[in-house]
Symmetry: C2
DNA sequence: TTAGTTATTTTTGAGATGAATATAAGTCAA
DNA sequence: TTGACTTATATTCATCTCAAAAATAACTAA
């Protein structure tokens, strides 16, 4: 091939080396809050392998489909198209992670607001529900230790997850915790209008630890992300709190 | 299939659905320091597509090869087996990112100590060298803005990178910056024994900003990661600094 | 009107950080 | 040998952040 050959000519006879290829999939950690606890949406497998265990919703990536599009499609297919914040987590590629064949899976974290989470559970009756048991954020584990996460069924038994999905869920929790304080992920779990107490509840649920109230509100307000609406919550006994709205400041990148 | 069928029997006749699959590759950001600046090792492409541009070293993932193993293999093949810290960055899967065929690539960050970096450049004569021009860490860009990174040749011209590799390099820099202060990546760019001034130089090079010396040394020493050796640097004019060694405390996870 | 509960603000103190200064330890040149 | 010079290291002080506590405000229910 001469270097002056045109790019078009080169492409025309390009022969894609055909070695055996791993399959490429996406798996989604559909996370929301339920009764103040971090919760997941799972599918119970009724087939080999790992029949009877619970798995993350996922699907293969189409040959003409971008990774993000595949993740969005799986979200639509499995959770009925509820709105969610999607973010790539990590890619898992151990050789034996699926006994059927070699599958490389790109894990995504999908954050659903509480209403969307409940709606997904209604719309898709095959989805089941698990809460994440936090290993109690000890004092000295700031350095995101490899926290072994346990997923509990609504009745409180520990669920066995299929494949390496427990590892994926653990990573999702770790990522969420790590980003919570300096990114906007916390707001993705809330409705559009929310009180500072609700925001604090979300943070406490994810961190698994109580937070100082005045310090938390000052920090959040100083961030410049909160827009007071002048409206107040209703239906409460006692003094109603002001409702805020999330106002993203900069273009803000996902990681 | 009856649910009581044995798993082995099921696997025996499992027919892996054969849709067209994307190819899976790994690309490595080989990063080190050269003369106090962040630097990269690149390969100049002599073929279509993007002939003449510079690309990250990479390779396809074997059907029986874990992702990390593929990354380690590429490191061996392209950089002559120098030691490096390897860490998965992100997976890029846009449909048209390579005009030849659909390739999903898992990007890895490889950190080479200064000696290893120089050694790789010697051993692999096809590798070329670029420094990363930092867009000067402005005051208010703490929220990892999408910093457009420029890679410069040794003579100072801007290099054009192939494919989406500029994006990958930008992400690598962002990740490095983000983790620098609370993880051990800074030490991966240093030899086993180093002075506090060298450590500070590494941080300043990556952040692109000067740091307060006493505050920096206090912070680092308080981390508990530094083990004084009682030995001192030699060959310097003026007072020699003490040599320290990195001592990882906890098992410490990668991201 | 008063007790009870939660929202919000203010105050206080501890700890981390940045800047400046002081001291120590080496080389080099006279 | 001495002193100038340079850098490492230690100390001091002011500032800032943030947690904890206390005080105040706003509402409901009795």
């Amino acid at each position: 091939m001469s270097p002056s050959e045109s790019e078009a000519a080169f492409l025309a006879r390009y022969d894609p080396a055909d070695y055996a290829r791993p399959a490429v999939a996406v798996d989604l950690v559909l996370m929301g809050l339920s009764a103040g606890r971090p919760a997941l949406l799972l599918l119970r497998r009724d087939r080999h392998p790992h029949a009877g265990r619970h798995a993350l919703p996922g699907g293969f990536v189409g040959i003409d489909e971008a990774l993000e599009d595949a993740a969005a499609r799986v979200l639509r297919e499995k959770a009925g198209g509820v709105p969610a914040h999607l973010e790539q987590l990590y890619t898992f590629g151990a050789v034996e992670r699926d006994p059927r064949m070699r599958i490389v899976t790109v894990a995504y974290l999908a954050l659903l607001a509480e209403a969307a989470f409940a709606e997904a559970l209604e719309r898709a009756p095959t989805l089941s529900f698990g809460t994440v048991a936090l290993p109690r954020r000890g004092v000295a584990d700031e350095a995101e230790a490899a926290a072994p996460v346990t997923v509990l069924s609504p009745t409180g038994e520990a669920l066995r997850l299929a494949f390496d999905h427990a590892e994926i869920v653990a990573l999702a929790m770790r990522r969420l915790r790590g980003k919570l304080d300096y990114s906007e992920v916390g707001f993705r779990l809330l409705p559009e209008l929310f009180t500072l107490r609700q925001l604090q509840d979300v943070h406490e649920a994810i961190l698994g630890t109580p937070l100082n109230k005045p310090a938390f509100r000052r920090r959040m307000l100083d961030r410049g992300w909160l827009e007071p609406t002048g409206r107040f919550e209703t239906g409460t006994s006692y003094r109603p709190a002001e409702l805020y709205r999330f106002r993203p400041t900069s273009p803000s990148q996902g990681d």
